[in-house]
Amino acid sequence: MAVGSARKPRLAVWKFASCDGCQLSLLDCEDELLALAGKIDIAYFPEASRRMMQGPYDLSLVEGSITTPSDAKRIQRVRRLSRRLVTIGACATAGGIQALRNFADIREFAAAVYPHPEYLQTLATSTPISAHVPVDFELRGCPIDKGQLLEVIKAFLGGRKPAIAGHNVCIDCKRRGNVCVTVAHGTPCLGPVTHTGCGAICPSYNRGCYGCFGPIAGANTKATAREFASLGMARRDIARMFQTFNAAAEAFRKEAENHAD
């Protein structure tokens, strides 16, 4: 990007409905941050800087999902200002935990939290960025992995495709030499249907994967749900397994619906 020009490529970081954890991953690159700041122009990153430069930007990193009418407009402007747009994390890529509202009555949700829900301006759904504008790449995870984030930034600034693997968490467990928590201990685990990226942390800590990187392409959630049932899980608990941080991702949403009460 910016080939043949002396200008450093411009990076922007945007926040929508989210916890801030994915953009924090950029500041958590403690060993690389200052070198990165030397190679690119961090033109818009309000969490880190008061300097807010006007667009256009060569690369926009977008955190968070769309949950309000004003954010639905703002993402259009962000897209217009961005040569490349990459979503970072489960909220921006799949709607996040707040997409549980998609399966509930938003008015009742608001009334449960606020004494005056009439002051709220909120949409009935939490939707991923790709439901609103074209997205050049989606980085998964709740939160994202900072190694993958650096790879995505380097790849887009170098004008190449990011080298991000697409296999499931089971492969990572094999590589780490983990004993399978399902086979050995009967622990329900979403590893077979969950996208790689975390490094198989949960099975390494003696618990089942809870799917925070979302479904792999072609996820066989039916087989996994059948396995959960054979371990003695109730239908409601199986539905809950699929209804967390990627609840609105197609494969997980459908499998949860299959186990609705």
């Binding site: 916890c19 958590d28 403690e30 941050l33 935990i97 002051y119 709220l120 909120t122 975390c198 949960c202």
Partner: protein
């Protein structure tokens, strides 16, 4: 005389989305509003119907900077409900996990978010051109905190290891070896950071806060203790809602927490330090004295020094806990659900964090209430702003705005945390 409105549409270097405005009429600052336009995510609503074992993973997602705080208040509230009192080594491991988050979160705020205000830079990356050593020390501090979080939690953001009854997995003594080395270096970095920050130019400002924090008979407070205040409050976590009230204010579109009897109050590092300085080791108190901190600090601009003192303490406390670590005989005690209500308060890096849960007999959440530190500090932040703006009326508008932004950053507000309570109507007049 016409009314002049001063506005900052997006406050940088705080976590989350907020704006600031006030009016100046006849030389009087009026109508000070910290508006939060962070979209609400309805955590209390979406927790209902979830199993108690899922709560800790869900509440972590309220905040990427302080997920451990949410897991700590959550786990202690649910264990309070279930009548579980974890054994001493598990308690020590949880305190160690909290030390990691304090080091990471304070390190981020001191060097990356707050220090640039005092030295006149837009951000830490720019500041590094002239103050490379200081920024690198700050990054090393953050990294040490994150390494501790990674060891105990699996990852720094949204760690996966805490469970009701204990941990999923407890480390062996040998696993701590690399962390010990980085914590020793971090403690030196923290001392250097305190001495560096002590040289900053601090605006004159004295505020008569009511400080609110936990207090414990032996510990500088993290996971245990009673809620006390500088005005004599002394209650258990279960009595929080009899003393504190959240009200939704239409103009600011926020639930402000107040003490029912007295109004605005302050939580966070300044409050902890004011109420618990005697729980700090003598050498940490001596470093605070050397940096010019009074035993009770009432200048919010000097909160950066208090945070640095707490980082020094957290590094030393982490080393002490690791030194005395014995692997628990079992990582967790078995847990049986039962119906009831549980309460807990713990000390998030930004201050008191209250959780209450009601479960049914199967352990399903019927009701949840979470009160984050930033919701509690909003009243004080606005009162500070009024004072800072009044003192700066003769300044150029840009300088006045910069002072006001700095005044907000004094309290390290975490807007994503607060926003699950906050409405997003914005006054753009």
């Amino acid at each position: 005389m016409p009314t002049k409105t001063v506005k900052v549409d997006y406050i940088a270097r705080v976590e989350g989305e907020s704006s600031l405005r006030f009016n100046i009429r006849d030389g009087v600052v009026d109508d000070v509003r910290l508006s939060i336009f962070e979209p609400p995510r309805f955590f209390e609503a979406l927790l209902r119907g979830r199993g108690f074992a899922e709560v800790l993973d869900i509440v972590a997602r309220i905040c990427g900077i302080c997920p451990v705080a949410y897991q700590m208040s959550g786990v202690h509230a649910i264990e309070n409900l279930l009548g579980i009192d974890v054994e001493a080594p598990i308690h020590a491991l949880r305190r160690l996990l909290y030390c990691g988050e304090w080091i990471e979160s304070h390190g981020l705020h001191i060097v990356m978010l707050h220090a640039p205000d005092f030295l006149g830079y837009p951000d830490a990356m720019t500041m590094a051109r002239d103050h490379q050593d200081a920024v690198e020390r700050g990054l090393a501090l953050k990294k040490a905190g994150n390494e501790l979080l990674r060891l105990l939690g699996g990852r720094a953001i949204h760690p996966v290891n805490v469970r009701v009854g204990g941990f999923y997995r407890v480390p062996s003594r040998a696993e701590f070896a690399p962390v010990v080395e980085s914590l020793k270096r971090a403690r030196d970095h923290a001392i250097a950071t305190l001495r560096w920050a002590a040289t900053f130019p601090f605006p004159e400002c004295t505020r008569d806060y009511e400080f609110v924090a936990l207090r414990h008979p032996e510990e500088y407070p993290m996971n245990r203790g009673r809620i006390v205040s500088s005005a004599g409050l002394d209650i258990a976590a279960a009595d929080y809602e009899t003393e504190f009230l959240e009200r939704q204010v239409p103009y600011s579109t926020a639930l402000h927490s107040t003490l029912m009897r007295r109004g605005a109050y302050l939580v966070g590092a300044m409050a902890r330090y004011a109420l618990n300085r005697d729980r700090l080791p003598a050498e940490v108190q001596a470093l605070a004295d050397e940096a010019g901190l009074d035993p009770v600090c009432r200048n919010p601009f000097r909160s950066i020094l208090v945070r640095a003192v707490e980082v020094i303490y957290a590094c030393g406390e982490a080393l002490r806990l690791i030194d005395g670590y014995e692997r628990p005989t079992r990582p967790f005690v078995p847990v049986e659900p039962r119906a009831g209500t549980g309460y807990a308060c713990t000390e998030a890096p930004r201050g008191l964090l209250y959780h209450r849960y009601r479960l049914d007999a199967e352990g399903t959440v019927e009701d949840a209430k979470l009160v984050p530190p930033t919701a509690q500090n909003q009243g004080v932040i606005e009162e500070d702003l009024r004072q800072v703006a009044t003192a700066g009326l003769d300044l150029e508008e840009d300088a006045l705005k910069a002072n006001c932004e700095q005044s907000i950053r004094n309290h390290d507000p975490c807007i994503s945390c607060a926003a699950h309570f906050l409405t997003l109507q914005m006054n753009r007049t």
